[in-house]
């Protein structure tokens, strides 16, 4: 045996257990090289930063993939190419999102101050009121957004929550329940402007062609809110364990008290989250309000009478009106946009917080 093996030993080469790999510093070096090359050529030929970035990206994609191909083989090269592409989508996607945030904050924060919240736009030409000399502000828009959103919430939440209770507790798998589930799906897809047209058609048919009021806006917003509330509540009610309901029934508690005292409190956190998210969604709606709530320059607290200004419509009309004072109007629009974004973001954070605080403690 040993005689047979002896002569083979010198011929056998050690098989490498690891395929050759690019070193860990390869990606940053390749990125630096392609940036440097593109920057050099770009500066010589006078391209803008965007052009340099695009060329650097192409250089990196081709160069790095080629390098990997030469050392690691085709499959690893493809892997690295797609990793590059996927991380690139991340960078590309971040550009507009960061830009929106940055522009809103940087252009909007300058005008924010006590006057901006305390004044409306009556008699304001350019920067200040022609009579009092006070700077123009968004009080009327804040009032409108608050009143219209509150009214819409007051209409949408009871309907939405009760409908979800029907779907989960009463109408399981009946034809009526399935129809409602389907219709809620349809309602989710209603374009907001169509909701506005609906409110307009309904209310002008009843009150006459010239009817404009905040209430119309609330009706449209409620149409948008209801499906969101139903969906959120439905999901939450389904999560409530049946044991809780059965325990309650076993104690002789009637069904409606079980729902009110056991099911709803358990699901409260999720429902509150869903409602808050729905409020945040409609607080930023513009199109329906533009159609039915109109616009005005003074604060109007009465939802049922007279036109109402809202923050989104204020932003829209400030920017699109143009004219002699376009610059001042645009500055106010950015300020209002910042306020609106802060309101909506706070509502979203509040929704998360509510969800955390009231999350059902099922002990699981």
């Amino acid at each position: 045996m040993t005689e047979l093996l002896e002569p083979e030993a010198p011929v056998r080469r050690p098989i490498p257990l690891q395929a050759p790999q690019l070193p860990r510093w390869a990606p940053p070096v390749a990125l630096f090289l392609s940036l440097a090359a593109a920057g050099l050529v770009g500066l010589l030929l006078g391209w803008g930063p965007a052009g340099i970035a695009v060329v650097a990206w192409v250089l990196f994609l081709v160069g790095f993939t080629g390098w990997a191909q030469a050392i690691e083989g085709r499959r690893k090269a493809v892997d690295r190419m797609f990793a590059t592409l996927i991380w690139s989508t991340f960078v590309i996607a971040m550009v507009p999102l960061v830009s929106v945030t940055w522009e809103v904050v940087s252009k909007g924060h300058g005008i924010i101050g006590a006057d901006f919240f305390a004044n409306d736009m009556r008699g304001v030409l350019g920067e200040t009121n022609i009579v009092t000399g006070e700077p123009g502000g968004i009080k009327h828009a804040l009032v409108g957004t608050l009143m219209i959103t509150l009214t819409a919430t007051a209409m949408a939440v009871p309907v939405g929550v009760m409908a979800a209770i029907y779907l989960v507790e009463y109408g399981k798998r009946t034809r009526f329940a399935r129809t409602i589930t389907f219709l809620v799906d349809v309602m989710t897809g209603i374009p907001s402007i169509v909701a506005g047209l609906f409110a307009f058609s309904l209310l002008t048919l009843i009150f006459g062609a010239a009817y404009r009021s905040g209430f119309g806006g609330s009706v449209a917003l409620a149409v948008i809110m209801v499906p969101i509330v139903v969906r959120a509540t439905e999901e939450m009610l389904k999560l409530v364990p049946d044991e809780l309901r059965e325990a309650s029934y076993a104690l002789g508690v009637p069904k409606w008290r079980t729902i009110v005292k056991v099911v709803l409190p358990t699901a409260f956190g999720g429902i509150a989250t869903g409602v808050t998210l729905a409020v945040a969604r409609v607080a930023g709606e513009t199109a329906p309000l533009l159609i039915i709530a109109g616009s005005t320059t003074v604060a109007n607290w009465n939802v049922f009478e007279g036109r109402m200004m809202t923050l989104p419509v204020f932003i829209y009309s400030s920017v699109t009106t143009g004219g002699k004072y376009a610059a001042e109007q645009e500055a106010r629009a950015w300020g209002a946009a910042l306020v609106l974004v802060v309101i909506v973001m706070s509502l979203n954070l509040l929704a998360r917080l509510l969800g955390k605080i009231f999350s059902p403690k099922t002990g699981r």
Binding site: E103, L167, F176, V186, I190, P191
Partner: protein
Amino acid sequence: MTDTTTDQPPRLDDSGSRATRAGDSIFSGLASAAGLTILLALAGVALFLVIEGAPAFTASGESAYGKDNIVVYVWPLLYGTLLAAVLAMVIVTPLAVGLALVISHYAPRRVGTYLGYLIDLLAAVPSVVYGLWGRVVLAPALLPLYLWLSDNLGWIPFFDGGESGPTHGRTIFTAGIVLAVMALPIVTAICREVFIQTPRIHEEAALALGATKWEMIRMTVFPYARSGVISAVLLGLGRALGETMAVAMVLSGAGIITIDLIGTQNPSTIAANIALNFGNASGSKINTLIFSGLVLFVVSFAVNFVGRWIASRGEVKG
């Protein structure tokens, strides 16, 4: 039945019975009424749009904004709506899939979670803010790109730019980009959800067989997530179709049909057209606009319906 306890009637429905039953029936009645309200509301939406839109069928001349009939008026708007929305989806699909993969598979888990939160927050930014950004910031920034495109790639009909070339950035292409930015968070969120739900055991099996990360994603994640991604894109498309304010603020539209994406004259969209013209409209022109809204409703309903259908089919299969 020989049980002696039958002497005493079961005390299940005793003194409280009437109140209990009344409470139950009131409560269930309320719940059903809420369901009925939803049904009526949606029927109302359709009914009132039809009532107010129907007179526009015979509209011509003045009431159809100078067009011969309603079809000639609505068709270019519908074309613009579809063009902008499809453009947005062409841009957003690869970005959203990539971004969702970063969150679900490429980034470290903790970073991925926070990225997910961030994207969800961005979905909440109101459309009017995106419109403001698109009009004031993005459109001027894109004009050099359009000039470059029409100079160098002008032979492609999409980048023709018209006779005098692009003169402003408020084109249908810009509108498509703004719509894409707005749809990105929603589409990404749904894609992420389905990517995360890929069975871990499939992924690990692929890796154990020596697949690279990309091969693992291609072989296990994509086949599993296909229907989810398609329905995400369709739902995003539904959103983009109905989006009003961003387009109304960004696009400088005229009711024309062209495949030139960066020209001075652009097709407008139904929703933006309603928002821009409703304030000045009166009488039969309002009927015309409401009719175009009805068309938009039908189209976006169809898209959403197909999206949900595909999603539910995927659920059954998964």
